[in-house]
């Protein structure tokens, strides 16, 4: 069998669905955050596969921007989780339901 971009896109779709399931099913804020990272990675894979299939480098540049935004998102998101944990001593999102601190 030959390797085409479709194989990578199919795999990326499955990984994206698994990440979405993680956000829906888990209640640990850290694991939900990891699931979001997995979804971003799956989209990056489709970008690079499409870039290869079309012979254009724009997809890889888009991937680079996604990686930069994800890095910024991880630093701020983890800082927020740590700040919440200092008040609540829990990483369970069900505990964060009230807006009063």
């Amino acid at each position: 069998m030959t390797l085409t971009a479709g194989w990578f896109m199919g795999l990326a779709a499955v990984l994206f669905a698994l990440g979405g399931a993680g956000v829906l099913l888990r209640r640990n804020a850290l694991v939900m955050f990891m699931s979001i990272e997995l979804m971003l990675n799956a989209v990056n894979l489709t970008f690079v596969a499409a870039s290869k299939a079309l012979g254009q480098v724009e997809g890889q540049v888009a991937t680079l921007f996604v990686i930069v935004v994800a890095a910024a998102e991880v630093t701020v998101g983890l800082a927020i989780i740590v700040a919440i944990f200092h008040r609540r001593a829990s990483a369970d999102v069900d505990e964060f339901a009230e807006l009063r601190g």
Partner: protein, 180 residues
């Protein structure tokens, strides 16, 4: 053929890692599973001749991001098994149904163009070296690239602000003495 074998092996590794991340009760195991998936994706980038992106993937994701995750897991001490007893028991089945439905919709929407689709890669072969990416990034996309500079600066300042200021203003400065 050899490429396909490499793809199959690391596709299984990626799916197994993602599944472990999804079902593991301990966040440390989830982080290890995600690490496996991200490294496998770096191998896919090499297969797709995106060598620079593959290096960035290993350095930033499996290096920096996952290390940060592990650090936070250890620091806030949630590296213990999660209590999965539900207080509202109907939500988990609804979540599973939504996830399966979402995956089904994606497969149906894409099945026309995937695996059976475009037979081969483009004829002008793309080689994702630093040179080709830099030509595009610093030629066409200079202004968005400078935007990411602001984004990273704002993220760094925001992180420091979140760590520095508590509910009652600035936290007292640690003077380096041992707490009694």
């Amino acid at each position: 053929m050899a490429e396909f074998v490499v793809f199959a092996v690391f596709a299984l590794a990626a799916l197994a890692g993602a599944f472990v991340m999804l079902v593991a009760r301990n966040p440390v195991y989830s982080a290890i599973g995600l690490l496996t998936t991200m490294f496998s994706i770096a191998v896919f980038y090499v297969l797709l001749d995106a060598h620079f992106i593959a290096a960035i993937q290993v350095i930033i994701y499996t290096g920096a991001v996952m290390t940060l995750f592990m650090f936070v897991i250890m620091m806030i001490g949630v590296d213990r098994d999660e209590d999965t007893s539900e207080r509202l028991p109907y939500q988990r089945p609804i979540g599973i149904i939504l996830a399966i439905g979402f995956a089904g919709v994606i497969v149906v929407a894409g099945s026309g163009a995937w695996v059976t689709g475009s037979a081969s890669f483009a004829v002008p072969d793309l080689n994702g070296t630093i040179e080709t990416i830099a030509d595009e990034l610093f030629g066409t996309w200079t202004v968005p690239f400078l935007g990411t500079v602001f984004l990273l600066t704002i993220a760094a300042v925001g992180t420091i602000a979140l760590a520095r200021y508590g509910p009652t203003g600035p936290r007292p400065v640690d003077d380096g003495e041992e707490p009694t």
